[in-house]
């Protein structure tokens, strides 16, 4: 790292003096810090991409370091300030502070034609795109087909239960001694919020929901209060395990599919990156009867077909990188449908890179995507989960209140609304 600093300094000096010579003759090493140390499919996808790229560009080496997400974010926050950040690193589009402070390289020169427009949009800040949107995801409601069958419940054709049906399902499940839904917010600021924000989105519709998050509609709006009260009533009916507040993301996966087993699990469609691992690495058991249903209809909703799609894990480039051209070259190597397909095949999550699902080769992936396609049929999308849209105090309060306290039954709807309104 120190060498990077020093050589960066020297390069700066040389550049200022106008002696920036052809660097191509030298071997270039790019550093890359990434999340996904435990998410084998994504990690191997990136490693394969690096190997291919290095084979095609023998003068450029890419050195990845794999982190846990929280550790990565903490390291980046300090490293960026210290001028010791890597050339390429993992980011999600909500991290506007990177753009605000000029840390990110403008990626306009890339081949954006190969990227889904909404994914580019998610990464566009003040007119310029900054991120390579590898991962995209929708919020999905997973369930255990066998358990549902045991309870004698059948889903309607559109896979969406009515509010009453959903509540009845919770009660039946409880009565049968099965936790209705696995979920945990022990190490993530968003899983608990899925319940509320999907409900709010359906209730308000895309436009008003966006305004709500921006603070243009108050949280004390009766529609919001009504919806939150409904979510709270689900929680009060015993929807979530008692350990909800301390359960970690990975534990929640295991709670759902292995031990003790829950009926449902609400999660981003990147469920696969953990669940499709080997069982001894936290994956679901072989032959697990995975099903996906729609988020239930919300009482008085204006748009029960509305749902969230988000750009997730992406790569961005350090504005201070000494080798921007090499970084761009590396990024461009991702931007073709073949790579997009390879992502779908291997990672089994949606991607912001244009791909052709029909050309997928992996049967398990194809099966999974057909389920995703079924729930997404006819959907209207809102881009981004709330914490990707919010920042500062509202984000912190939202995380504490809507992600954690409300589903845990630790705060009344009235107080929650009051705190949120006060935060803007």
């Amino acid at each position: 790292m120190k060498r990077t600093l020093l050589s960066g300094f020297l390069a700066g000096v040389v550049g200022l003096a106008g002696f920036a010579g052809p660097a191509a003759a030298q071997d270039i090493e790019l550093t890359l810090w990434s999340h996904w140390s435990a998410e084998v499919p994504k990690r191997s996808f990136v490693e394969a991409a690096i190997a291919d790229f290095e084979a095609a560009n023998p003068t450029i080496k890419i050195k990845p370091t794999w982190y846990e997400k929280n550790a990565l974010y903490a390291a980046l926050k300090t490293a960026l300030r210290a001028g010791q950040a890597p050339d390429i690193f993992y980011a999600e589009p909500d991290q506007v502070e990177y753009m605000d402070n000029g840390f990110l390289l403008d990626l306009s020169p890339l081949n954006w034609a190969a990227v889904e427009p909404w994914a580019k949009e998610a990464w566009t800040y003040q007119g310029k795109p900054y991120g390579l949107p590898l991962e995209a995801w929708t919020v999905e409601l997973y369930y255990n087909k066998d358990k549902l069958a045991d309870l004698g419940v059948k889903l309607p054709a559109n896979l969406q239960l009515s509010p009453e049906g959903f509540l009845a399902l919770i009660e039946t499940s409880k009565a049968a001694g099965v936790t209705p839904m696995s979920l945990g917010v022990g190490d993530r600021p968003f899983p608990g919020a899925h319940l509320s924000h999907e409900a709010l989105l359906k209730k308000l519709g895309v436009a008003d929901y966006g305004k709500l998050l921006q603070g243009e509609i108050p949280w004390s709006d009766p529609r919001v209060v009504e919806t939150l009260t409904w979510v709270r009533s689900l929680a009060d009916a015993g929807l979530l395990p008692k350990t909800f507040t301390t359960m970690k993301l990975t534990e929640a996966h295991i709670y759902f599919h292995t031990k003790p087993g829950a009926l449902m699990f609400i999660n981003g469609s990147w469920y696969t990156s953990r669940a499709f691992n080997e069982p001894d690495k936290g994956g679901q058991p072989d032959g697990f009867p995975l099903g996906i249903m729609q988020f239930p209809a919300v009482p008085g909703a204006v748009c029960n077909e509305c749902r969230t799609i988000a750009v997730g894990g992406s790569y961005v480039a350090n504005a201070d990188s000494e080798h921007p051209e090499a970084v761009l070259k590396f990024f461009d190597a991702f931007l073709n449908p073949e790579v997009g397909n390879r992502w779908l095949d291997n990672v089994k999550v949606q991607t912001g890179i244009k791909a052709d699902p029909s050309k997928m080769t992996d049967a398990r992936a194809a099966d999974y995507f057909s389920m995703i396609a079924a729930t997404n049929e006819g959907s209207k999308y809102f881009f981004g989960i709330p914490i990707q849209v919010m920042s500062g105090k509202p984000k912190e309060v939202f995380t504490q209140v809507i992600n954690n306290a409300l589903p845990a039954g630790n705060i009344s709807v009235e107080d929650a609304v009051k705190q949120l309104d006060a935060a803007y």
Partner: protein
């Protein structure tokens, strides 16, 4: 001659050996200046600025104005104070009882003393992980024990509820520090003159009376020192919270330390000015509290930390 201005007896030798004095003090003062004094002043300076990675803007008292209205900060202050006030009382009270038990010549006193002291040796990280397991809802020993004795309804996700999380963590720090306080108390008890206690026995004092009228007043200074020491320690608390709850749920375990850290290194801005403001204000609060405590105990001269 140099000696004329000397204001104290026992000045040294022919000349004040300024060379030697400087040489001895310089390294310590340099480290102090560079890594304690300068950072402290810089924090103060920061607090009047918005400190972003590539620019610093003077914003006067804006940070302070924001801080006054920052409910999370005040919540953190409240939590920290609850912690800093509850802990010393619990720790010192339990420690005194245990020390008295050992003082009464129980067999195996040495073993007890060493065993009780061990929690203090572990880092908060280790302790945090251990206790997160102990508080685990499904298989933590506490809930397992409750279920085993038929009190399964009392089983709680102790660290996951706003009203149990903070007491649970306070309990952990007490677990950790009781042994330390006990050892200090025991040392203080052993340093008491035997004659006084024996005299009290001749005066036909019972154990309880002896404790209240003779022993406790004589170890008063130690007791108060321990209280202040524990108070200061809890005002700094960070590691334990960070490793267990990170201030959750609903800021019920947020301490000033964790909040400063969050605002400085986890918040969605890169601003270091605001967290510096928290630090500066907190510094004043801590200082005032410690001075207040010492004044309260009228230990101004005797206080040792």
């Amino acid at each position: 001659m140099a000696a004329g201005g000397a204001a104290r007896p026992h000045d040294e030798g022919l000349r004040r050996p300024w060379g030697a004095i400087t040489a001895f003090l310089l390294p310590a003062l340099l480290v102090y200046a560079a890594l304690t004094a300068y950072p402290a002043f810089r924090t103060l300076w920061n607090s009047f600025h918005e400190v972003l990675p590539r620019r610093e803007t003077f914003i006067g008292l804006a940070n302070y104005a924001e801080l006054i209205q920052d409910e999370i900060f005040w919540k953190a202050v409240r939590n920290t104070f609850i912690w800093a006030c509850a802990s010393p009382l619990i720790e010192v009270a339990v420690a005194t009882l245990l020390a008295l038990a050992l003082y009464a010549k129980v067999p195996g006193a040495r073993f007890f003393r060493i065993a009780w002291f061990t929690p203090v040796l572990m880092s908060y990280i280790v302790v945090g992980i251990l206790w997160a397991w102990i508080y685990n809802y499904d298989w933590g020993p506490i809930n397992v024990a409750l279920r085993a004795v038929g009190l399964g309804d009392w089983a709680q996700p102790w660290l996951g509820q706003p009203d149990t999380a903070l007491p649970a963590l306070i309990f952990v720090t007490s677990w950790m520090w009781v042994g330390f306080n006990m050892v200090v108390m025991l040392a203080a008890l052993h340093s008491l003159p035997r004659e006084v206690i024996e005299a009290a026995e001749l005066d036909n004092c019972g154990w309880g009376q002896k404790l209240v009228f003779i022993i406790l007043p004589m170890v008063r200074a130690t007791l108060l020192n321990l209280v202040v020491l524990s108070f200061i320690g809890k005002m700094k608390i960070f590691d334990l919270v960070w490793i267990t709850t990170k201030g959750n749920p609903l800021w019920s375990t947020e301490t000033v330390s964790t909040y400063v850290y969050k605002r400085a290194f986890e918040w969605t801005t890169f601003d270091l000015g605001y967290p510096s403001t928290i630090a500066a204000v907190w510094f004043v609060i801590v200082l005032a509290a410690v001075l207040g405590l010492t004044h309260l105990f009228r230990l101004r001269d005797k206080l040792e930390y």
